[in-house]
Symmetry: C2
Subunit: 477 residues, 2 copies
């Protein structure tokens, strides 16, 4: 169907009809490539285009989000979406799902957010499976509690209290299939309550924002500095007409920049949340990996009825497990139970009970300690290497986690470094995609490379780092 | 907030405001109980009420669906939703999730749709886990393919071709977390394409319809007879103004009545689907359990590009596994990949590879054969018992599956039998909830009890059956 975007005053013919199997994003992408949609062209609002095409608004929102992530469009809060300048040649087959990059095996994998899965404790996992199967009742194998098996919820409540200082009782724990599902279900619950948007730190992981957009909510950005989330900026947003219903915060180790939320900011954030009725979602994605001091306890403990705590086994064990957990404020327990029930009834029970056994046996703690030692060593080597090649990085960001950000000099364009790394088959990520307005937003954003030092197996770590050092020193020279 | 339903001309004050934590369903339920909403009162359309309350339409749709399932409201296709006659006393705490009944342990569990989980092959499962862990690579433990691990998809394609006559290649197989997730994701994909409703057999499992309603689609009913789905009635629906985009059919063993879709009907259905572009979703929930003849092959093989085949391990192994699979028409592969990716990235990889090993070893086939023998024997005993107490049942329905429907005489009210069974702590289900308009719909529906004979452990099966026989003979006498 060739339609005109009458609502936007554009006389544009978009070759697209629903039900043909072609995605709306594909059609718009083609139009940008063909030059039918010139750089700077304002697109209709998602609402207007959805009405014109007679599709759900979410379809348009998802297409815009995908194309923004791919660099075809630029979206900024409060401004219309426009066609981006295609200054760099676009890939012929743009990634459908930019994260995780699939179908491409990097020779040197330094992608952030991934643990070294060669460390996976297979022997302990198998032993835990044996104990889980031996202790399991016929009722356990039937349909179960949507929020998780009581045995696992009890172990998680104990573990989170002990290791992360979370104020957790088993009844408030919800077991989910990865942080994406947990965040998506939370977004759905908030949307059903009337929420329109959720605030994210700027910069933050774009894939998390996409999950919220896919759930039908808008995303707004709150800047961060060396003390973490700028609570004053959040307060200004919350005083405005389109106040977000929740804010996602990586308090222990800001992703990607690495700051720890300052104690004063923690108190201010809780106070602000209480005063405005805003939900805080604490994404504790790598809270177990603090190297230089005692772990920073979870923000959640300061206000268990205002803060959702979210943790995951993706960084400690393996992303492939799809295992995550929330600790919920009282009022969200029943809505989340219903949401999880309608999503998939509950997580698989054998894996739940296996993980409960792994926690109970102490093998999980032992595994985390082992990984922490390993990653601390790698962190030191990354820091040495970056120092040697003259790269800048924020020392505050290196105290924890599985990644570090190498900041690039003013004259060094991020895409050029990424392209050079790609030619050497080094998988790293750019800082640019983490900003809400994209790298070319209004404010001048520092350029940088996000280096995940946990991902490669031990034998490949040294060579991967040397290859990266070569690339960086070539760029800096 | 006390609002007036101006759009419906009602002057009704509903004490509800979003964000208070109270559900909309609770508020309406309370209004019905208090008598503020009298029996027969027409409720506003979901669209009108959503606008009045300034909430998403899905919120209202879900609340209406929940209250209809609980018997507070009556909804019929094409007619306004009305407040039901509360002829029976309502439970003080109405069930939040009517299926599976949770928090109640029946002494005699004869609930349909559940296998005897005491038969779960734990030893084989553990051995399969060992092989899966031994063969797993570090990459397998990372983020994986949203549609499932290639190893499991290949085993499933082979198994489904061999055992169910499905035309399956690995690339078309999608691994999901239970049939609910699979159906919910399909409904979401269809909705994004512009679909408004999906047709179900009438009667059918209400929980499946609820999944579709939760995904934001309407549900319409198509009658069934002793030859299965009435394809002529579906054709009439498809010729109407609100043609459903898809039809869910239990071709091998109609749930709950038990008919097998007649060969002529299969051909007619495929022809109709092709002529109208309607998607057929074949819910093959118990296709492995055919007792009296050779298994009836999947309908899907007749038209792999029109039919989605859906299978599950919930009846063969255990519902607690949350493991299901689809075989998709080509055009749905990419949309389903995206939908699954945004839902939870993919199923947990260890359980996927364990199940692949179980299939490869032949232990899965062996387990299914063992269960089939067991359930056939139980089926024979149920039939003998029903015959002895003079209950009627459709002989066509007993040739397969895990349940049988005992039809009640005209003077025997279903709720009375269910209540009597409940007093004896016998878990069975009524036929009434399976009809789309409820048991008291326009057409006179036969009353009946759905008896799941697979659920109890072997030692409890005889006593459970005797207890049920007592209840039935008391009612009949």
């Amino acid at each position: 169907m060739a339609i005109e975007w009458t609502s936007s005053g554009l006389d544009l013919h978009l070759d697209w009809a629903r039900g043909t199997g072609q995605g709306l994003a594909d059609a718009i992408r083609q139009a940008v490539r063909d030059g039918r949609l010139a750089a700077g062209t304002r697109l209709p609002s998602t609402r207007a285009l959805a009405a014109d095409l007679d599709v759900a608004r979410g379809t348009v929102t998802r297409a815009y989000a995908e194309l923004t992530a791919e660099g075809y469009l630029r979206s900024r809060q409060g401004a219309p979406t426009v066609v981006a300048e295609l200054s760099q040649p676009l890939p012929e087959t743009p990634p459908q799902r930019p994260w995780p990059p699939m179908g491409h095996e990097w020779r040197w994998n330094l992608l952030p957010g991934r643990p070294d899965t060669t460390l996976f404790p297979s022997t302990n996992w198998l032993a835990a499976t044996r104990r889980a199967l031996a202790g399991m009742t016929a009722a356990d194998l039937n349909y179960g509690n949507a929020l998780g098996h009581a045995g696992l919820r009890a172990e998680l409540a104990d573990y989170l209290g002990r290791v992360r200082g979370v104020a957790a009782v088993p009844d408030r724990v919800a077991v989910c299939s990865g942080y994406s599902q947990a965040l998506g279900l939370l977004a759905g619950v908030l949307r059903a309550e009337g929420a329109r948007s959720i605030a994210f730190e700027d910069p933050s992981l774009p894939e998390c924002r996409q999950v919220v957009i896919a759930a039908g909510l808008d995303v707004v950005g709150v800047p961060v500095d060396e003390r973490g989330l700028r609570v004053d900026a959040l307060a200004a947003l919350l005083a405005g007409p389109d106040a977000p219903a929740a804010v996602v915060v990586t308090a222990a180790h800001q992703y990607p920049l690495g700051a720890t939320l300052h104690p004063h900011r923690r108190a201010e954030l809780v106070e602000l949340a209480r005063a405005t009725g805003t939900l805080v979602i604490e994404d504790d994605y790598d809270g177990e990996f603090r190297f230089d001091r005692q772990p920073v306890g979870a923000l959640q403990a300061m206000a268990p009825d205002l803060v959702v705590y979210a943790g995951t086994a993706s960084k400690t064990l393996a992303p492939g497990l799809r295992l995550s957990w929330l600790v919920l404020p009282e009022r969200l327990i029943e809505p989340m139970r219903t949401a999880k029930f309608f999503a998939d009834r509950h997580n698989g029970v054998i894996e739940q009970l296996t993980f409960a056994q792994l926690l109970r046996s102490g093998h999980y703690d032992q595994h985390v300690r082992r990984c922490r030692t390993r990653y601390r060593r790698r962190r030191d080597r990354v820091v040495d290497t970056l120092t040697a090649v003259g790269a800048r990085f924020d020392p505050a960001g290196i105290a924890a986690g599985l990644h570090v950000v190498a900041l690039l000099g003013d004259g060094v364009p991020e895409p050029a470094v990424l392209a050079r790394a790609a030619r050497r088959s080094i998988g790293v990520e750019g800082l640019g995609r983490c900003w809400l307005g994209g790298a070319d937003g209004d404010r001048p954003h520092p350029a940088g490379i996000v280096i995940g030092y946990a991902a490669p197996p031990e034998h490949a770590f040294g060579p991967a780092l040397r290859a990266l050092a070569d690339v960086l020193s070539e760029e800096m020279s």
